[in-house]
C-alpha cells in the first residue's frame, strides 16, 4: 500500500514560546525546531503499515526551505521519499489541507496519515478538511490502526471511552499520542536519508491559492497565575482551603 504522511516543522515542545514585543509572532531565533510530535507518530504508524503490507511511504511537508530538515528526519526513520511545498510565512490549516489535496491527486496514495494536531496552532483541522475536500472517510484521534485487505479499522479516543470505526481505502487517519512510540533513526538510516529524493513544489505549481481564510491578528501571553504559597503541613492546607479559598 502507498501511504502519504505529513510532517510539520514546529518549535520544540520543551521550549516555552515567547511572544515578540509587537505581537506579530513568537520568537523562533535560536529555538530548536522539531517534527510535530503527532506527526512523528504518524510517520511511525506509516512505516509499521508498510513493514506489514509492503508499499511505499511518501513524506510531505509545507514550509520554508529549512523544513527539509524535518523531511530528512522522517526519511531517516525509514520513509522512502519526500515532497516539500515551499511556503514562506504561515499557512493556515485550510491552505495546508488544499495543498495536501493537490499532492494527493498527483500521488494517489491508499491512505493519508496526519497528526491529530499541530502543537503550534493547536487547530486539529487539516486532516478533517482534507477528508471532506477529497470526499473521503476519516478516522481522527486514532489510538490503534489495523489494515486487512482494503479495510482499515481504527480505534479512536473520544469523550467517555473508545470508539471503533472502519472504512475501505482510500481514507484519512489522524494520529493520537498513544498510537505508538516512534523509533529513533539509526545511523545507517540517517546516512541513507541524505540520498533519498526530496521534490520541491510551489503552491502556484500545484494550482493552490494559500491566502489564509483565518488571519492571526495579534498574539499575546496569557495572564500568568498569581504565585501561590507553600504550606508547612496538611492541617494548615485544610485550614486555608476552608477559610481563605472557601473551597472546602
Amino acid at each position: 500500500m502507498k501511504i502519504l504522511v505529513t510532517v510539520k516543522r514546529v518549535m520544540d515542545y520543551n521550549v516555552k514560546p515567547k511572544v515578540k514585543p509587537d505581537g506579530s509572532g513568537v520568537v523562533t531565533d535560536g529555538v530548536n525546531m522539531i517534527v510535530n510530535p503527532f506527526d512523528e507518530i504518524a510517520v511511525e504508524e506509516s512505516l509499521k503499515l508498510k513493514e506489514k503490507n509492503g508499499g511505499e511511504v511518501v513524506v510531505l511537508s509545507i514550509g520554508t526551505k529549512d523544513t527539509t530538515t524535518q523531511i530528512r528526519a522522517a526519511l531517516a526513520m525509514g520513509a522512502d521519499r519526500g515532497i516539500l511545498v515551499l511556503a514562506d510565512g504561515s499557512v493556515d490549516p485550510d491552505a495546508a489541507a488544499r495543498l495536501i489535496k493537490a499532492v494527493y491527486e498527483q500521488e494517489k496514495p491508499d491512505l493519508v496519515v496526519l497528526g491529530k494536531q499541530a502543537i503550534d496552532d493547536d487547530s486539529s483541522q487539516a486532516g478533517q478538511l482534507l477528508a471532506e475536500y477529497l470526499g473521503l472517510p476519516q478516522a481522527t484521534f486514532a489510538s490503534k490502526v489495523d489494515v486487512a485487505g482494503k479495510t482499515v479499522t481504527v480505534t479512536r479516543e473520544v469523550d467517555g471511552g473508545l470508539e471503533t470505526i472502519s472504512f475501505d481505502m482510500p481514507g484519512v487517519v489522524t494520529a493520537d499520542l498513544r498510537l505508538n512510540t516512534p523509533r529513533y533513526a539509526s545511523l545507517p538510516g540517517i546516512m541513507k536519508a541524505k540520498k533519498k529524493e526530496v521534490k520541491e513544489f510551489t503552491p502556484a505549481a500545484l494550482g493552490v491559492d494559500i491566502a489564509p481564510k483565518v488571519k492571526v491578528l495579534k498574539l499575546e501571553e496569557p495572564k500568568a497565575r498569581q504565585a501561590g504559597q507553600k504550606v508547612p503541613d496538611v492541617a494548615t492546607l485544610v485550614g486555608k482551603l476552608r477559610n481563605e479559598a472557601k473551597a472546602l
Partner: protein, 319 residues
Amino acid sequence: MATVLVIAEQAGGKVKKASLAAITAGQQLAKGGAMHIGVLGENPADAAASLLGYGAAKVHAAAHAGLAHYLAEPFAKVVADLAKANGATHVVLPATAQGKDVAPRIAARLGAGMASDISAVVDDKTFKRPMWAGNVVGAVEITTAVKVVTVRVSEFAAAAAGAAAGEVAKFAADPGTPKAKFIKFEEVKSARPELTEASIIVSGGRGTKSKEGYKATVEPLADLLGAAVGATRAIVDDGWVPNDWQVGQTGKVVAPQLYFALGISGAIQHVAGMKGSKTIVAINKDPDAPIFQVADYGLVADLAKAVPELMEEIKKVKG
C-alpha cells in the same frame, strides 16, 4: 446581521452539558441577530425540546436512522444543509471530541474559515483562542462570509435555561451515504462526576508510583470529596488509568473550583489543561517541581503520608 447556528450534542436524548457553553458563545455572537439551535440523532426530539428555553429563534431537530451513531461524514452533511437552509452566517459547536472531529468538515462544505477552541468572542469575525498549549493567546479574524468555530467549554459559562418558548422545528435530514462505518463504542463507565463537569477534581501523576498507588491515593480522596478523577499523560500511557481521564493540551481542558495535583510535575502540556481552575493545590515531594508555580497552595510532602493525613483532616472539619 448574524444568524448563528449552534449545534448541541446529545446522547440518549439528553443534551451534553458542553453544549451549554456553545450556546453562551452563540448568544454573544447573535447579539442583534438571531440564534438557532440544531440537534442531530436518530430521535433527538426530547433533546431538542429541552433546548427551547435558551432564546433560540428556532430549535431544529434533525432525525434520521443514519444519525443513530455519530459519524463525521453524515453529521457534517446534515449540519451544512441545516446551516444553508437557515442562511447561517456562523456555525458554533462545543470543542468536544465530536465537535473537533466534525467542525472542519462542516467548514469545508460551507467554504468557511474556522477557528478552533475559541476562548472569547471579540466581535462577529474576531475571536481569541489559545495556541502553543495555551502559552499564547491569539486574536484571529475569520475572513470568509460564513464562519465556523468550536468553543473551549471551560472558558464560557453554561447558558441558563429560561421558560420554554415555541416548538421544535423538524428538519428533513439527508445524511447521504457515508464511507466510514461505526463498529462499536466501549464506554468507560464511572459513578464519579465527569471531568469537564466536576466542581472538584483530584488528579494524579507518576508520583502516585503505580496503578495500585493511584487507586490507593487519588481515588479515595476523590470519593471523599465527591470529585472527578484526572491524570497526566504519563500514567495514561503507562496504562494505569483510562485515556478519558487525561487532563492537558491533548486531553481534557478543565476549570473546576478546586483542583488537586498529586505527584504531578507540572509540565506545560499538563498545566495547559488545568490552569483555569479556581484554586489549585499541589502535593509533590520535590520542592522545585514546576507545578508549584501555578499552585495556590503547595505542600512539599510524600503522597503516601500526606494523602491519608489530608483525608483525616477533611473528615474532621467536614464532620
